[in-house]
Structures are given as C-alpha cells and as structure tokens.
Symmetry: C2
Subunit: 142 residues, 2 copies
Amino acid sequence: MTTPAKPRSHPTLEGQLLRLGARIRDHVAATSAEFDLTPQQAFALRALNKPASMQTLAKVMRCDASNVTGIVDRLEERGYIERQVDPQDRRVRRLAVTDTGRAARKRLEARLTERFPGTAALSAMERERLEAALTRLLETMA
Amino acid sequence: MTTPAKPRSHPTLEGQLLRLGARIRDHVAATSAEFDLTPQQAFALRALNKPASMQTLAKVMRCDASNVTGIVDRLEERGYIERQVDPQDRRVRRLAVTDTGRAARKRLEARLTERFPGTAALSAMERERLEAALTRLLETMA
DNA sequence: CATCGATGGTTGACTACCTAAAGCATACTA
DNA sequence: TAGTATGCTTTAGGTAGTCAACCATCGATG
C-alpha cells in the first residue's frame, strides 16, 4: 500500500486537541481493559466518587438514563457498586460504591494518572506551563 | 438527590487531561451527529485524507480490521467513499473518498475546528502558549 | 509449476452501548 | 382523589468492539 494516512494532524491548535483526544481515548480504553472494564464502566465507577442517582450519573456521563441502567447492572454484578433505595423518594436509586469497588476505583485512578502517556517525560517547568494553559482552556470550555 | 458527582477533577495535570478528553469526545460526537455520522465513521472519513488500505485504516483507528469492514460499508452506502481493488495486489482494497465524501469531509473538518469549544475565547497569547505546551506533550506521547 | 505459508479482507457469534419509545412505580399538586 | 410529572427499567433497532474461522491472493521454495 501507499503511505499511511494519519487523522491529518493540522498544525492548528484545534487539530492538536483532536489528536490529543484520540490519544486520551486510547489510554483510557487500555487502562480500563486492564481492570476488565469498558471505558464507560470505568467512567461510571470514577464518577461515583460520591453517591449519586441514576439521573445524576446519566447527566455526568452525558447519555440517556436508560443507558446507565445496563452499565450500572454490570458494575453491580461485579460487586463494585450497589443500588439502594432512597428513603426520601422511593423512585430514586442511590448508587453507592462498595468496598471492593472503592479499592478497584483507587487502583484505576492511580493507573490512569501515573501511566498517563507522555506526562512523565515533561520537566517541572513544562508541566507547570501545560497545567496553566489547560486550566485556562477548561475554564473557557465551561 | 445529593450533589452531582463529577468525574472528580483532580487538581493534577493528568486529571485535567482526562477531563479534557471527555470534553473532546463530546464535541466530536456532537459534531459527527450533525452530519449523521457516528464518531468512528467521522474518524475514518477524516483519516482517509489520503487513500489507504483496510489494514492501514485499521491501524490508524487502532482497532481490528474486521471492525473497519462495517464502518467502511456504511460510509460506502452513503457514497462517501469507494472500495477499489489494488491492481498491484488484488487482495488489497484501496479506500478512496468520493467527491461528495470530500465535500462532507471538508465541512466536517471545518465544524470540528471552528466550533471547538472554548478555543475561540482565548487570547492570541493564550492560544500560543497552549499550542506550544501541546506540541511538547504530543511529542513526548509519541 | 505445484504447493505451502503468510497476508488482506470478510463473515459470524457474542457483548456492550446508544437512542427513542413505551411502561411501571412513586411523588406532587389541584 | 384524580391527574400529572418524575425516576427508572424495558424493549427494539442499530453501531461498534473482540475473537475465531474462512476465502482469495501473493510470494517463496521444492
């Protein structure tokens, strides 16, 4: 075949961000797989840092509530989280991470940050600058 | 319900990058949807900037070749790309973007960059700094 | 040139996820 | 008490992910 066709790394800022996004996606997928989790399951487990309802979790995950049902089902089957009925409003399921879930969550979090590709190779100065720039960007993205 | 539980935006650099990744994912998904494309289809269309074989495309998309078959099928059904047999090696399918595909690809690319969330609000200086920092990061991630 | 191993691509089976629509239970309000 | 809204689940239909098996073609070797 001819030459490989990369997703066209434009020299533009946005092009870089899109490439970065793909890399991050890969990192998250690979790390989740280490824990036998899908990226969505990992995301949900991370998001349940504090207990939340299905609705809330759906909002955080930016997907439909009906979708969350299945993801939560699988996490529950593995014993990572529990569905509890909210006494205040019995329609609501309060999602709480179990002890095993908490342990997995912690290791997952560590893996995600410690093994993040590239960042370890940065100098203190470079990290600082990147962090500042990202803080600003995330601000404007809000 | 109690307070929403965000994916815990650690103040760490890696935490920021993970949050950014989620935002980028959303942007890509939303933009692809505007074109009635799934994110993967959009990714493939963008990647076919230059013609490529199934194998090559699979590598770029970091997924199995069997997976690419379906994605290419759907893009072909829409008339965005074409499968051509490579005369040098008749096992190989050369994937080429059609004229309509090229047009869609161009508009997609424009949408992805022009409407990238947040970047428009940055000052020239901020853009420059972010770009420099990202260039460095992408380098180390290689 | 006949065969054989390697390579490119597709297919099939299975799972996860995503949406939209319908359904069920519970809450709130008139 | 009736009526409406809300939280969650279910169903149906489609896309995408893996893995294993398969077919066609290539390239090398006897």
